[in-house]
Amino acid sequence: MPNKAIIVGIRKYPELPPELEGPKNDAEMFRDWVVTHGGVAAGDAKLILGQEPPPVSALNANPTEQALLFEFDQLATLAEQNGGCLGDRLYLYLSGHGFGQSLNDAALLMANATMRRSYHHIPGRLWADHFFANGYFKEVILFLDCCRERYSSALLNGPGYLLPPVPPAGARRFYGFATKFGKLAVERKIDGVVHGVFTATLMNALNGGAAEEDGTITAASLKAYLFENMKNFLEPQDLEDQDVAKEPDLFCDPPEDKFVIAKAAPQKFTITINLPPGSENKERKLFGEHFVRIADSAADGKLQWVVNSVMRGMYQLLLDADSYILTVNGKGATDVTAS
């Protein structure tokens, strides 16, 4: 059965500063990915972008929550007409301003939201759970790239189930929020284009950064990649800012290693290992997962060792008998630290 996607990117809010730059880029980038790698036909990927240029007043701004509720209602109606199940997988991607109303959820503020009218929003997890629990899709994948500052109430515009139905056997879900509850998500210029840091990390993961050697991206490997690498896409001042999220908030039903999110050729990097002083005349060996030897080299009198085709992860470096651990992060940078 077909996969579906609803993708929202709201960049400009007439009455909700600061202006964003990333959501439109990110939504379009995610839409491109779902139709090329995510198994969604172009006609089944609904892309909803903010009105540009935006109107002066939020009263006339679009999209509102009604636009998204219409899409949700349409999915539910189609599912019900289709015997209760509409497709294998639903992708929900929401990017823009947002907030955290509880530990469990985050909400995307819609274009007509203002400082006083934050009720114009869509709670992401509530709706994702709605599609998951009702079995409209076998798999539901939600990504929400927005802030989760704490707002202490209000679950409006949800599907209205207090006790949702029990999901069908085998149903699976993966939810990714850009930040932990109470933290801020940020956008930064990455390779010359402004992206949400969470989405930039996510796309890098989906494009092979999180792939295992066999090319599968599982929920486990995606979680690991996102947890370990989001900070690598932040700028130094972000890392010092206690309000900025360094890690996303992720949820997946177990077993995570059996849930294949996507397939992609694993990213491999040519790394330059800066060797510690005094080791230029030592033999080098590099060991990976399960201590599999992946490279070795005789001493060459230099303090740099270039190794090709290395996947992200931690490695043990042996310089004669001295052991070090180095980390190849998802951006391919290298760092040698004594263990």
Binding site: S102, E149, S152, R293, A321
Partner: protein, 550 residues
């Protein structure tokens, strides 16, 4: 020397030592995948030889180390400074002068209103040392805070903290106030800049001093943003009534970490596995012995109840000890509801301090309709908020005569939906959310109800008048959408007499779900549902509602 064991598959011990027993330990493999969890202070894992990253989480702070494990290894992590509203030694949000203030002022009596127990409050601003930021609090940090004696027949102000307490505005300002009281349940009331009043129950137990430590946060009022006490991040500790606060007492650090763990919990927390234990074995051992800090016991007992597999024997021991230490403490009695004691808890006449406790009480009220006194139950209808780990009540209560309109969908508006403080996104930025990550989260499925609809003068008389709690319950039951839709179609429906009826089956599980979500005891919830039925059934433009209890 560490040599790789390329072909060995035998496991190797990796011992982790942490400075705090409450520290959580995560072991990740070389690709960052989570392999196993544990708790400090000493935990040994048997792992295949390999490269690992060990993360240690203490409160909201974390440390990590990598290790190439080829032979038995021990990794030691020093105690880490974590954020806390209590100015404890070894926390990241404590100035020396705040510790001194708490130590000294908690041993004085600023107000005498009774004897046998004591309440201590410390409200303080906090900015990081070396911070270039302007002082956040220009007025007294305890502004708007008052202590009340509250009961079915009286509501008596005992003192305003601003005028009764000791204050120092040098550096990060603080106000401290110790009130000698009779044992009982009191209320700390906070008047927000908007005029709204929040009530936070504070229990004074005979022979004990209840110590409440509060940071400040930003609220938006008609005159602009103002700093007031942040109830959500309150730290509450207990000490002997004469003992005062000792910032160096190790058990208080353990209690505060337990409180933070409780505040961060939900039943289904993203990125978390609810099957795993929430309480370190070290803490269980402490509880098996004779523990002398009851607040730690209360937090720990709640954490035990949140675990999927309850150690009932230990739970009974802990709650039994607590009952002997703190007589008629609502939080302890709430826990006792689940301890199968021969002396069952009596009627709850006063609210507990913890939101989880109120959750337990409302849940139990389905099977025990007389569990909550009328005064307490009525006070709670529509007014329950969850702030951090704490049970907080709003002072306002809409009566039926204050009922509000539910207008047509096209003009459907909701006011002040997001935050009791009406904080805007920008304002929230300044709150200092990182001082204690996840500090203001709700801990139960109980969400403050969402709807406060705006009166719509001039709306047609057929408009449905619902109180906000009726609206919220309708929303939660999944029938609000149908009501709104029918109302929009109202004219035709009324003319044609084809209003669709709604039948809602309410079995005990569902009743428990709604009761705990809104914090309303079951009998009062049934009253709300009856009111909803009555209003719908007397309005021709909306469907009739029939709630059937099973």
């Amino acid at each position: 020397m560490l040599q790789p064991l390329e072909s060995t598959t035998e496991t190797v011990p990796l011992a982790i030592q942490t400075g705090d027993s409450q520290s959580e330990i995560l072991v990740l493999d070389s690709k960052g995948r989570l392999l196993i969890r544990g708790f400090g202070p000493d935990c040994t894992f048997r792992l295949e030889p390999g490269i690992y990253r060990v993360k240690v989480l203490t409160g909201t702070a974390s440390q990590d180390k990598t290790v190439a494990l080829t032979a038995p290894r021990t990794l030691h992590f020093e105690p880490i400074h974590f954020a806390s509203a209590a100015p404890l030694a070894g926390t990241s949000t404590s100035h020396e002068y705040h510790m001194q203030a708490a130590d000294q002022e908690s041993r004085k009596v600023h107000v005498t209103d009774g004897a046998g127990s004591s309440l201590f409050f410390l409200v303080r601003n906090w900015t990081a040392p070396g911070s270039q930021a302007q002082p956040r609090v220009t007025n007294n940090p305890a502004e708007g805070l008052s202590l009340y004696a509250a009961g079915p027949e009286i509501e008596r102000k005992i003192c305003d903290l601003v005028s009764a307490g000791a204050t120092n505005s040098t550096g990060d300002s603080w106000t401290a106030c110790t009130v000698a009281v009779n044992p009982g349940v009191y209320e700390l009331q906070l008047v927000l800049p908007s005029g709204e009043i929040l009530r936070k129950p504070v229990v004074a137990s005979g022979g004990w001093q209840t110590q409440s430590f509060l940071f400040v946060r930003l609220y938006v009022g008609p005159e602009g943003p103002e700093w007031r006490a942040d109830l959500a991040r309150t730290s509450v500790l207990l000490a002997g009534v004469e003992g005062g606060f000792d910032p160096n007492e190790a058990i208080l650090r353990a209690a505060e970490l337990a409180r933070q763990r409780l505040a961060r919990r939900t039943l289904d927390e993203p990125g978390d596995n609810t099957v795993r234990p929430l309480l370190p074995e070290d803490m269980r051992n402490l509880l098996r012995g004779k523990f002398d800090n009851p607040m730690l016991g209360i937090y720990a007992a709640h954490l035990m109840l949140l675990e999927r597999s309850l150690d009932l024997a230990l739970f009974r021991d802990v709650v039994g000890n607590l009952r002997s230490m703190l007589l008629e403490h609502p939080d302890v009695e709430a826990l006792a509801l689940y301890g199968q004691f021969t002396s069952a808890p009596g009627v709850f006449k006063n609210p507990p301090m913890l939101s989880r406790s109120w959750f337990l009480i409302t849940e139990a009220s389905v099977d025990h309709p007389d569990l909550v006194s009328d005064w307490l139950a009525q006070r709670s209808v529509g007014n329950v908020l969850t702030q951090g780990a704490w049970h907080v009540l709003r002072a306002e209560q809409l009566s039926d005569t204050d009922a509000v309109d539910v207008p047509m969908p096209s003009t459907y508006q909701l006011r002040q939906a997001m935050d009791t403080s009406r904080a805007s996104p920008e304002d929230s930025l300044a709150v200092g959310v990182g001082e204690e990550e996840g500090a203001a989260e709700t801990i139960t499925p109980s969400e403050p109800y969402p709807m406060q609809t705006i009166s719509q003068p001039g709306m047609p008389a057929r408009n449905l008048h619902l109180t906000e709690i009726e609206s919220a319950v309708a929303e939660a039951l999944g029938i609000a959408k149908r009501i709104r839709w029918s109302e929009m179609q109202g004219t035709q429906t009324a003319q044609q007499g084809t209003a669709e009826n709604i039948e809602e089956d309410m079995d005990p599980a569902r009743l428990r779900g709604v009761a705990t979500r809104f914090g309303i005891p079951a009998p009062q919830l049934k009253g709300v549902l009856s009111g909803l039925e009555r209003k719908l059934n007397s309005n021709s433009s909306v469907p009739n509602l029939s709630v059937k209890y099973k």
